[in-house]
Assembly symmetry: C2
């Protein structure tokens, strides 16, 4: 029987999630809900929360209380442990499973970081993001007085250091120098090398491409110079949605196995992310 | 209380495993056993089987029957499912856990392949090995009549295609052309581009360096051109041993959680490979 997967939110990620559910051989789309739809009669094994990050907890609690699994890509790194604790309690009470922060970072990058730490416990990992659009920095730039539209690109400079290229469209008659001063003073930008570039049309620059370069040099046992590197260049919402859909499969399986609670991706067995039976997958992948 | 980890076999991997156990903050070395030592009085939570691959099953069954967890780096790809089935049965009966094929390929590479498939379910993954020494091919070359010593290097040519560079030291008075003909006809070499090079001293070329370049280009949902790449250059026995040691931690934890059986690495939650409590690890890695 196919997993019945619904989704809430129909922005970039919601639309990509719809495609990933349709493409999955073992899933059926159990509904698309907008932010303000009633969830009273929702019928699904799991629901993907393709909402803004700050709305994740509210929807997750509502669904977990019904015993329905939830999957989100909550991305405020320093609040993940608290979310796991809050959702975990309700999930356990109502015999459901929640997979949280299931995107690419946090998400699949977290799995890579964990694996590399197990392979070389001593050493340094650098996660270099981009080039790609930073959602958080873009929102912060847009909030500055006189900014009509903005796009903040994250440019990797290596060793986890990033440059911010901020493209802004200004309101009529605004002094660019004043906007730049405010931008550079903003807490989002004050700690990184930041360049503001005034443009006529921010939308003309828009592109959901993103990427990562994750490197570790470390020590296995007492042997130094173990070197690892993971690179990807991807369509950001498509990958985020696909990871969420794969995690929905794991959530429903863990619920069936009685392993109720809230989990990050590093707490899931990777095999549970894939369709098919274990022996076939092991034969193919191990 | 520290995990008590013993090991059987004291070759390259056994020696590296000893170092990795000593370096682990939550483990103590519970003994080093040679292949022919009696295991009657072995006291350990888990035992690393640093033996030749073909001896893994025998030792694993003996230990699992005592309720002791085992970890191996069994690397005959097409026999992994059978080994998992055989050890799984005994592990379940005696309430133990066995982690099998826990090296880097099979092993950590398998985890990467699984994760990439979950991130882009449609597409092609190529695993390119080396440059590095192939144990299996080296043994096959050594077995040819007239060969005193040999070293078979695996050279990656991309898209999963490999060249074999076989360095041989010949017995006195042997015709190199005859050895080469036998080598190229051997099933280990017949399917790849193979070059035999006669040298005076094979040991002078020896080096445990190895590596991998694992690439996938695939589709997330309906979005093509998602590109992923994992590279590593490593000391082979040091990495194999470290992965085994990290998997020993997971084995003992799963035993404590009552999840008895035999598992490949793609069936383990990555977080279980690491020392420390879950919330601290999640804060650091997710």
């Amino acid at each position: 029987m196919a997993f019945r997967i619904a989704l809430i939110g129909y922005g970039n990620i919601g639309r990509a999630a719809e495609q990933a559910i349709i493409a999955a051989p073992d899933m059926e789309l159990a509904g698309i809900y907008h932010h303000n739809d009633s969830l009273d009669n929702i019928q699904a094994d799991a629901v993907l929360l393709c909402t803004p990050t700050r709305e994740v907890e509210k929807f997750a609690l509502l669904l977990l209380e019904k015993g329905i699994c939830t999957i989100d890509s909550f991305d405020i790194h320093n609040q993940i442990v608290a979310l796991r604790s809050s959702l975990g309690l309700v999930a356990k009470t109502h015999k459901a499973v929640s997979v949280i922060s299931a995107g690419w970072d946090p998400g699949s990058d977290s799995v890579i970081r964990t694996l590399l730490l197990a392979m070389a416990p001593q050493g340094i990992t650098y996660t270099n993001f981009g080039p790609g659009r930073s959602m958080g920095h873009t929102v912060a730039a847009k909030a500055i007085e006189g900014v009509k539209n903005a796009l903040s690109m994250t440019i990797p400079l290596g060793t986890g250091i990033h440059r911010r290229m901020v493209y802004v469209e200004l309101e009529e008659g605004i002094d660019a120098a004043i906007v730049e001063k405010k931008l550079l003073a903003d807490d989002y930008f004050a700690h990184d090398e930041t360049h503001m570039v005034v443009v006529d049309d921010v939308e003309a620059l828009n592109n959901v491409a993103h990427g990562v370069n994750l490197v570790r040099s470390g020590v296995s046992g007492s042997t130094h110079n173990q070197r690892f590197e993971f690179n990807m260049t991807i369509n950001n919402p498509a990958l985020t949605a696909q990871v969420m859909v794969s995690c929905a499969r794991a959530a429903v399986r863990m619920q069936a196995a009685g392993r109720f609670g809230a989990y990050t991706m590093i707490e899931l067995a990777p095999i549970d992310l894939l369709p098919g039976d274990p022996e076939t997958l092991i034969k193919q992948l191990v």
